[in-house]
C-alpha cells in the first residue's frame, strides 16, 4: 500500500461523502417536488431557481434550531445515536461500483472504493448495524413513545433483513461470486431482474421496510407515534437521522441497481467507460422515483400486519425463489 494508493482512497472517500451528502440534500428536494406533482400541486419553487436552494435553506434552518437534550436522558447515548445511525448509511457506498475504470493523466482509477470478495455479505452486515442507532435513540430519549418506536422499528428492520438477505442469495448464485463487480460483469446479457423477477420484487419490498419508508414507516409515523424514535431530537441531530434515512434510501436503490438491474452496464451493448456512471445514476434515479411514488400512493401498514407480511409472506417467497433459481440452474 503506497502513498499513491492511500491518497486515492482518501480522495474517493471524500468524494463518496460529498456525493452522499449532496445526494441526500437534493433527494429531499426531488421527493418534495415529485410528491407535490403527484398531489397536483407544485413543490418548493421559491428558494432559488426552481427551488434548488431549498435544501440549503433547510440545512441552515436546522443548524439554527435549539438543541434540546431531555433532562434525564442518557446524554452520551443521546448524542451518539444519530452518529451510529448515519455511519453505516455512508459506509455502504464503499463497495458499490460505478463503472470499470477511467484513465486520468496515465493513472487508471477504478470507479469503486473497494472490491471486497464478499461484497454482498459486507452490504448485509453494514445494513444490520443501522438497527443499533435506532434502538439507542429510542432508549436514550427517556420517553416511552420513543422507546416503543425504537423497538418497533428495530424489530421491523430485523425481520425484513432476513427476506432481503435471502433475495440477495439469488444474484450470488446466478453470478457465482459475492463480489459486486463480478455480479455486475455477469449481467452483460440479461439483467437478473428479468431472470428472477420474484427476487427483485422481494428485494425492493424488503428494502423499503429496511429503510423505514412508506408504506412501512410506522415507527416514524407522525400521526401515531409522535415521530417515534426521533421525537426528542431537534436541530442537527434530527438532521443526522433524516440524513441517515435518505442516504440509506439511495444506497438501497444503488444496491438494487447493482445486483438486479445490471449496475453500470446495459444489456448486450458495450458502452464507453465514461458513460457507465451515468447509466448507473439513471437507474438509481428511476428506483428512487419508484420509492417516492409508492410513498405517495399507499397507506401505512399497521404494525402487526407489517410483521405478519414480513414473516409469513416474504420469507417463504424468498426461500421459494432461491429454491427455484437453484433448480433451474441445475437443470440448465
Amino acid at each position: 500500500m503506497g502513498t499513491a494508493q492511500f491518497i486515492e482512497w482518501t480522495i474517493k472517500s471524500v468524494v463518496i461523502f460529498l456525493a452522499g451528502a449532496g445526494g441526500f440534500a437534493y433527494l429531499t428536494l426531488m421527493e418534495r417536488r415529485v410528491l407535490a406533482r403527484i398531489q397536483t400541486r407544485i413543490g418548493p419553487n421559491r428558494a432559488g431557481p426552481a427551488g434548488l436552494l431549498q435544501p440549503i435553506a433547510d440545512g441552515i434552518k436546522l443548524i439554527f434550531k435549539e438543541e434540546l437534550i431531555p433532562d434525564r436522558a442518557d446524554k452520551v447515548m443521546f448524542v451518539l445515536a444519530p452518529i451510529v445511525t448515519v455511519f453505516p448509511a455512508m459506509v455502504i457506498w464503499a463497495v458499490i461500483p460505478w463503472g470499470t475504470s477511467v484513465t486520468v493523466f496515465g493513472y487508471e482509477i477504478k470507479l469503486y472504493l473497494a472490491d471486497v470478495d464478499a461484497g454482498v455479505l459486507y452490504l448485509t452486515a453494514v445494513a444490520s448495524i443501522a438497527v443499533y442507532g435506532i434502538v439507542l435513540s429510542g432508549w436514550a430519549s427517556n420517553n416511552k413513545y420513543a422507546l416503543l418506536g425504537g423497538l418497533r422499528s428495530s424489530a421491523q428492520m430485523i425481520s425484513y433483513e432476513i427476506a432481503m438477505g435471502l433475495s440477495l442469495v439469488v444474484p450470488i448464485m446466478l453470478a457465482g461470486s459475492m463480489s459486486l463487480v463480478d455480479i455486475v460483469e455477469a449481467q452483460s446479457d440479461w439483467w437478473y431482474a428479468i431472470k428472477n423477477p420474484i427476487a427483485f420484487i422481494i428485494f425492493l419490498i424488503a428494502a423499503l421496510a429496511e429503510v423505514n419508508r412508506a408504506p412501512f414507516d410506522m415507527p416514524e409515523a407522525e400521526q401515531e407515534l409522535v415521530a417515534g424514535y426521533h421525537s426528542e431530537y431537534s436541530g442537527m441531530k434530527f438532521a443526522l437521522f433524516f440524513m441517515a434515512e435518505y442516504i440509506k434510501m439511495i444506497a438501497v436503490s444503488a444496491m438494487a441497481a447493482t445486483l438486479f438491474l445490471g449496475g453500470y452496464k446495459l444489456p448486450f451493448v458495450e458502452i464507453p467507460s465514461f458513460l457507465e456512471p451515468l447509466v448507473m445514476l439513471a437507474k438509481v434515479i428511476v428506483l428512487l422515483f419508484g420509492m417516492i411514488w409508492v410513498r405517495a400512493t399507499l397507506p401505512r401498514f399497521r404494525y402487526d400486519r407489517l410483521m405478519a407480511f414480513g414473516w409469513k409472506v416474504l420469507l417463504p417467497l424468498a426461500l421459494f425463489s432461491v429454491f427455484i433459481t437453484a433448480v433451474i440452474m441445475v437443470i440448465w
Partner: protein, 174 residues
C-alpha cells in the same frame, strides 16, 4: 394476512397508475404574488371613504361608525362646514378620521351603521406595516381620489345649495 393478497396486488397497481397519471394534470397551486385570486363580491377588505360625483366627501362626521365598532378601532372628530371651505354637504364633516387597522376586525358594522354610505369595505387585503404606528390609517389614506367630474375638497360653494347631509332622492325605493 394470508394469500388473498393476490387480489390486493392488482388494486395496488391500479392505485399507483392513478397517482402516476395525476402527475400530468395541471397543478392547482396559485402562485402568489405573481397570480392572485380575484376577491368575491361583498369581500370585506380595507375601508374606503367615498365621495359624491361632485367631489364632496360623503362622510358627515356623525361618529355612528365609531359607536358601532366592536373593537373601538375608529376615531372621529367632527367640525363645522362653512361655505368657503366645504368638505361635505350638510353641517358637519369629519375633521379627523382614523382607523387603527390592528384593532379592526373587518366585520363591516361601521359600513352598516353609516347613514350616508361614506365608509365601505373594499377589495384591498394586502395591508402590512413594519411599525405599529403605521397601522393607524388616517383620513388622507382612506379617502378615494376625486372623481373626474368633481373638484377636490375643501370646495367653495354658493350658500344655500348644500344644506342637507343626505341628498334628495328622486325615488326612495331605488
Amino acid at each position: 394476512m394470508a394469500f388473498p393478497e393476490r387480489a390486493r396486488v392488482q388494486e395496488i397497481a391500479r392505485g399507483m397508475w392513478i397517482t402516476f397519471r395525476s402527475m400530468f394534470e395541471k397543478p392547482v397551486t396559485i402562485q402568489y404574488p405573481e397570480q392572485k385570486r380575484p376577491v368575491r363580491t361583498r369581500f370585506r377588505g380595507r375601508h374606503v371613504l367615498n365621495r359624491y360625483e361632485n367631489g364632496l366627501e360623503k362622510c358627515i362626521g356623525c361618529s355612528l361608525c365609531e359607536a358601532a365598532c366592536p373593537a373601538n378601532a375608529i376615531f372621529v372628530e367632527a367640525a363645522e362646514n362653512t361655505d368657503e371651505a366645504r368638505y361635505s354637504p350638510g353641517e358637519r364633516y369629519a375633521k379627523t378620521y382614523e382607523i387603527n387597522m390592528l384593532r379592526c376586525i373587518y366585520c363591516g358594522y361601521c359600513a352598516d351603521a353609516c347613514p350616508t354610505q361614506a365608509i365601505t369595505l373594499e377589495d384591498n387585503y394586502e395591508l402590512s406595516y413594519t411599525d405599529r404606528r403605521d397601522a393607524i390609517y388616517t383620513k388622507e389614506m382612506l379617502l378615494v381620489p376625486v372623481p373626474t367630474d368633481g373638484l377636490p375638497t375643501p370646495q367653495v360653494t354658493e350658500p344655500g345649495k348644500f344644506t342637507r347631509a343626505i341628498p334628495e332622492m328622486e325615488d326612495p325605493a331605488s
